[in-house]
Symmetry: C2
Subunit: 500 residues, 2 copies
């Protein structure tokens, strides 16, 4: 049985001859929709090309090409000497789907897989969009030598060497690995060969690689609390059993961890400058931690996130540098020493793990942009990288001093400032101990100023309320104005609280 | 008890005054090593600064600064009016470590964690270093508009907008997401909003995100066999129970999978152009697959890896475009349409999963380089992207024709060529069915020509021997020479085999 052509149906096709989309694409898409939607039923005879062209006011050739394309795709079939018919396709897709109606639901769907649901609860994605003072962890983007970088990039790209456009080795570009090995020797006392360096797209990717390579599902990992939000969440997502370890005056509380938790497979720590509290791990604690890792065959992940910026003393050498035993994985990043959009970081691992990490990198995301790697290698070899760090060390010290003096002037009754000898942020403890720092932070954001509440870094720990203020990205002459706006917001919040 | 200063020990310090490394760093590092190595024992009294300076031929101030630094670090302590002593540190790190000796072992260490060991067996890392003809999956790097790209990058960087140096949103830059939504509508018939687009650092990272977001450990995933090596390995690494599904003339054999395997959570497929066989999935099979996914609540991952390059007909619309039911995840890449070192790709997901994927991206690697994202968005909006694809479509067709004619001329007795209407590679089936294609490939590599054996894509399937030849990256006038070298290598291998 051959069905009749739906003339009325075709007159609703609404081809827009003034659109930028080619006519054949418009017609093709609409006919597919009519067939898949069941409006053009199986075995319907299609109008003759001449007739449809006339009805739509388009050329016959266009209609003919569309029919041919849809025949090739299996939507239509042509019967010799008889005409063109809609193919007989069996599918529930030909009826409207109930699932389709879910597409505009805003609430997380309870039918989502468990991981997809739990991902909705991560606090790690908080406000990563625009940069404002005093966002923690952002360097002085206003002072980056853009021209020098653009020129370096352009030179690599136009050097007529196809290799830098390809994939490259998954562990990274040899020249960059050598430059990094030289940098960590000079700055952090780390002796390693370039074969121990794995280039990553930032520190967070290094942590993912570590979890994928060293953790079995359910393995215990010890993690500083307060500590790095995204590491904690990613370890949990990748199957780690994360246990929170408090910080004492010497840093990571090893005794607490040993007393309270099962043996760990991986220990995350920030010995140079605890994130976010700023405690420097004592030498004895470092040695204890290394001894423990050796005895228990755990891996220590040393996150050296802002080690380039020490203002009073030089930094202690890295944990990795104290140790010949191959149980430390050292993670560094260029997001803070250069800029985040570069997306380059590195992992220094024991030699026997290097090939496993390189393979994990291939499976996780193939590799890191070779073009940006080569640009950075040149930038380091030419001395631009060291010069920039030296300059930023002076700048950040000035910005820190300006922030401290502004807070001391405008808010001596509100904040007790944690001493700050290193890094890119300052902690202001609220002198009103019953305040909620997350509510205070929201009021500050609403006033157009950035910060993070201490509580966002906490897992089990309950600390007194405080806010973390990043000074590195704050332009000097705007610091005082921002402090005044911030102070006003906090005062407003506190008065509303005490009035309530 | 105070130990005596080891005078002989200090005379072996070997400070190199002609080195680029500052003297204080050299001295500091060596003293730390002596203390950690146990050669300078606890409570040893250090030589006076004046004496050590004289012994080493360096300034007293340098020695004084080094002592102060090591006191600050906890290696030494100063007793008022008495001198400087080595701190009493308790650690097994003070003795040479047995683990240290393992560092130069070449064989994978059996004491490595299971995942680290299994990563050593992945075939996905094969030869990603330099680009040669006929490497599969590499575009025409020689014809990329380098100058236009470098200028676009430079304009973004120097626009004095700090936002493009920062982190940006973890799902990607809105302008780029809109440009991609427009591109997939025009080229693949996909209707989606920019909020469904997640920017990734290439297709492989999209697959990792999918596994991290949708798979629970042990979930069954159905995967084409032969198929994409790195997807298969990464799904296994991330805990998926991968089952291999053969390909028939209509594509992915759904019947085989339903008959033989437990219900899948995720189904990986390349419907437009099966990887690597090139089969185009029939419309009926597409509809069957969509129906199955709806009924069984599985997710289909549509890897549309080289859909831009069809030479005879236009491509079929994407699976995603046939479907209103939100069970298809569409993955695209710019590694093949532009160049691999860009490290940009995308995932188009159902709306209700978008926020979970954005959170997973944050945890996996924060986000993708905003600077490259913005450059690409401008490149697309300006029409450069479409112009490049159009040009490459012509170029690749010419390169394909040249490769086919060269093989037909020089090796009609060796290869049966699979018809090739799309994509960037050609399959040559070996006419000697008992040959090992991996051995043949090794001979070809040794002759300076690239290719991949079909067997490397296989999991359980045993196909007849064949090689995959990428023609996109092969410069026209070098194609015949490379074919001759390749042919000679194969003949040499076959004669050695028949002689053996």
């Amino acid at each position: 049985m051959v069905k009749k052509t739906g003339g009325a149906l075709f007159s609703t096709l609404n081809i827009d001859t003034s659109s930028n989309r080619p006519l054949y694409r418009q017609l093709e898409t609409k006919l597919r929709q009519l067939i898949l939607g069941g409006e053009l039923a199986a075995r319907t005879r299609m109008p003759a090309t001449r007739q449809l062209a006339a009805d739509l006011g388009i050329s016959r050739l266009t209609v003919k090409n569309v029919y041919e394309q849809l025949i090739a795709e299996g939507f239509l079939w042509a019967k010799q000497g008889s005409g063109t018919y809609v193919e007989q396709l069996q599918s529930n897709a030909l009826r409207p789907q109930s699932v389709a109606e879910k597409q505009h639901v805003v609430q997380p769907d309870p039918s989502l897989p468990p991981r997809a649901r739990s991902l909705g609860h991560s606090k790690a994605t908080t406000r990563l969009d625009r940069v404002r003072a005093f966002r923690p962890g952002i360097p002085a983007l206003d002072l980056f030598p853009r021209r020098a970088w653009a020129d370096a990039y352009s030179r690599v790209l136009r050097a007529n060497n196809d290799d830098f456009l390809g994939y490259g080795s998954s562990s990274g570009l040899e020249e960059l690995k050598q430059a990094i090995a030289g940098h960590v020797l000079d700055h952090r006392g780390i002796k390693c060969s370039s074969s121990q360096v794995i280039i990553t797209s930032g520190a967070q990717q290094a942590f993912s690689l570590i979890a994928m390579t060293l953790l079995e599902p359910g393995d215990v990992t010890w993690m500083e609390d307060p500590g790095h939000i995204a590491i904690r969440d990613s370890m949990r997502l990748l199957g780690g059993d994360v246990r929170s370890v408090p910080i004492d005056v010497e840093g990571f509380s090893l005794k607490y961890a040993i007393r309270n938790y099962p043996k760990s497979r991986v220990i995350f720590t920030t010995p140079s400058h605890q994130h976010p509290l700023g405690v420097v791990m004592s030498l004895q604690r470092r040695l204890d931690l290394l001894d423990f890792a050796n005895q228990s065959e755990s891996w220590i992940v040393e996150d050296d996130y802002d080690s380039e910026f020490h203002y009073t003393d030089r930094a202690l050498p890295a944990l990795q540098a104290l140790h010949s035993g191959g149980r430390v994985l050292y993670v560094g990043s260029f997001s803070k020493s250069l800029f985040p959009a570069l997306r380059l970081g590195y992992l220094i691992c024991p030699s026997e793990l290097a090939s496993s990490f390189a393979a994990a990198q291939t499976l996780l995301s193939q590799n890191v942009s070779l073009l940006q790697q080569k640009t950075l290698a040149n930038f380091m070899v030419d001395g631009n990288f060291n010069a920039h760090i030296r300059k930023m060390r002076l700048t950040y010290r000035q910005r820190r001093d300006r922030l401290i003096s502004s807070l001391e002037q405008h808010a001596p009754d509100l904040f007790e400032l944690e001493p700050c000898h290193a890094g890119m942020h300052l902690i202001g403890w609220l002198k009103v101990p019953q305040a909620s720092d997350s509510e205070v932070a929201e009021c500050i954001w609403a006033a157009g100023v950035d910060c993070l509440p201490i509580s966002i870094f906490c897992d089990k720990q309950r600390l007194r309320p405080g806010i973390v203020l990043g000074f590195a990205c704050a332009v000097e002459d705007q610091i005082e104005g921002n402090v005044m706006r911030l102070t006003e917001a906090v005062r407003y919040y506190l008065s509303a609280q005490s009035g309530a």
